[in-house]
Amino acid sequence: MGKTIKISKGLDIKLKGTANEELVNAEFSKTYAIKPTDFEGLTPKILIKPGAEVKSGTILFFDKYNPKIQFSSPVSGKITSIDRGELRKVLQITIEADNETKYEEFKKFDLKSLKREEVIEQLLNSGTWPFIRQRPYAIIANPETTPKSIFISGFDNAPLAPNYDFIIKNDLKNFQNGITVLSKLTDGKIYLNINNQTESTYSSITGVEKNIFIGKHPSSTIGTQINHISPINKGEFVWYVNPQDVIIVGKLFSEGKFDASKIIAITGSQIEKPKYLKTVIGAELKSLLNSNNVKSNSRYISGNVLTGTKINKTSHIGFYHSQITIIPEGNYYEFIGWAMPRLNKYSASKTFFSWLTPNKEYILDTNTNGGQRAFVMSEEYNKVVPINILPVELLKACIAEDIDKMEQLGIYEVAEEDLALCEFICTSKIDVQEIIRKGINLMIKELG
């Protein structure tokens, strides 16, 4: 048994619209989409043409700079379009789904005698390798490297995040299978990090070291967990997988098919009945929303409010996301708002009064609440960063493109999600996540 780790820094933003623990099947989604933009830094090379028939598990495209990494269709059907943006950048590949999903046949294995090479080969061939990501950099793992350990964050405490206790208990068998498969990939341990709520859910899972994290967000982010258990030094790699994706990997090896089913929490103050829906990766947002009233003037987010991607009503769910959040847009003027008491708004600072009502759930909108400024308030970020780094100094090194300093200050240990709260609380409204991502991409470009 592992450790119990207390995280004292952080912030839980309490929003209205937590999903009720009620699981229903999503309506039939006519189309599905895979968006290369969901994968950081990817340049896709497309293998199929519109009109082609594909099965679930058929390869659609691969990574131009690492051709072994391939991406497959989550359903069977016909390719209807390949949308391109500026400079012919591929934005999304849309598949019109069959009524009955047909699967590509992959090898079934006796999991006990599985070898590392077999695991890697099957994951690459089935296009499920992208479920495995690496730190540093928070990108798809490089199959040529060997990680010192694999991390699975078994819970999520981002705003309105789904309860993995409720999701994972539906298929513990394949979760265990997935763990067994992943354990072949590393000589080190698999860390399954849990909180008090999910402790009993995962009690039957073996072959992992379980650590209990107690504390506020971002204690559920991979960067925080790695930093507290086994910090990354230069030249080391840690791989990580989402809990639901572990199940998909488990099924791939025990049943021989790529079953991209997933449970998605649909949350937020703009929706009438927040709940859980059983669907498939890449499904249309529409298929999740029918029979549920959404207020007008809404922001649709695939993911959570801190790190998610803005989508529109006709878009599809992102590849890694287990959550849809719908909140009001903040496109309105507020008369001398900065001087007002604003009792219905939330601030992590003590300059408003929301600290008097710590358990109130708020309806927050997308207004920026002020213009962008230079860094002014020092040490503001430290209270929400439970990693031993100096956030402002690291950000300044990223802005200055000073690679040595970035490395020295711990760029390997962070990604956007670990610092997303800084962006929320920032008085100067600085785009923290964008700066960190640019810094990381610079590291990748310069150091490979």
């Binding site: 910090p231 600072s349 400024r373 230079a374 860094f375 308030m377 020092s378 409204k429 964008e434």
Partner: protein
Amino acid sequence: MKALRNILDKIKPDFEKGGKFEKFHSTFDAFETFLFVSNHVTKKGAHIKDVIDLKRTMSVVVLAVMPALLFGMWNVGYQHNLSIGNLENTLFSNFFYGLLKVLPIIIVSYVVGLGIEFIFAQARGHEVNEGYLVSGMLIPLIVPIDTPLWMIALAVAFAVIIGKEVFGGTGMNIWNPALIARAFLFFAYPSDMSGDKIWVEGLSNLDKIADGFSGATPLAVMAAEGGNTVTNFSQGIGNWSVMDFLIGNYPGSIGETSFIAIMIGAVILLATRIASWKIMFSVFAGGFGMGLLFNLLAPETNIYMQMPAYYHLIIGGFAFGAVFMATDPVSAAQTSNGKYIYGFLIGVIAVLIRVINPAYPEGMMLSILLMNTFTPLIDFYVVQGNIKKRLKRAKVTA
């Protein structure tokens, strides 16, 4: 408010690119965002944002300065009436007298300072920063009441341009802009900035001073002849008791005298977490510690060194500097441990200058500016500490 919004929406296109008042875009934007929080929504990264912004932050600081300002206004009137021997005045008449004298200084400070900020913002194509809202209020509080308005205008211009804008504006400056203004006055017009007559309104031009009134500040009394006029510190200094120092009814810069009023501001700043308690605490600790050290080392003949250590904290500009100047988040140390070092040294050096250097009765301004200069160095070593920890970890595992 809808009517106001409609007017703004109507004239807004004139200030956009291509409009006839394009040159005043930043100015319009500043006033518009002052009146209405804009309707901008998040585009990338976090979709929701905390409601705090720099306007809120700065207005809290301005609010925290208010007790010192209001008391300062009363004290201007009170000291003036004392100097002419007019003892029959009310709380209100003293305050009103001071209000009329102080208000022009505040207006000059804001008009000149914000004017320059607007020009720079427009030239850079930036939004106007809120930083000057605080500096513009602090400058009037740290000058002697008889400072001519043209001098204030000049000092403000110097502080905003040389102290701030050349570095890139709010957030980029090395020194505290308000103290730059004060230092400019101090070194450019020394004869108008020192002596015993400048601290009380109208004293320099007064034909007949009331009996027993000098106009000297307590620190000047101490500095003159090494404080030899003081016989028993438990009775205070000169005509003033310890209670007078706490209340603040003695001559000095406009807002610096009342320890109690400043402490009300300190409570506001600390309760809202706008100012760093680490800095505030360590400035007081440094000043007190240095005072104690002097007490220990004091030879019999040196009266000033024998002054009780806590006197340093409640007399003159020490408290004002500790609460409002040293805690400026931009020019202070940025790192947690750096803040303790920075604050402590400010306290130490301020008392050192007061006691040892006979030319400067007050040491707070110079001490803060000096430590502002050294913050990059302090932060450098603290950051190196973090880097070394990481390197050490890498070596242990390798």
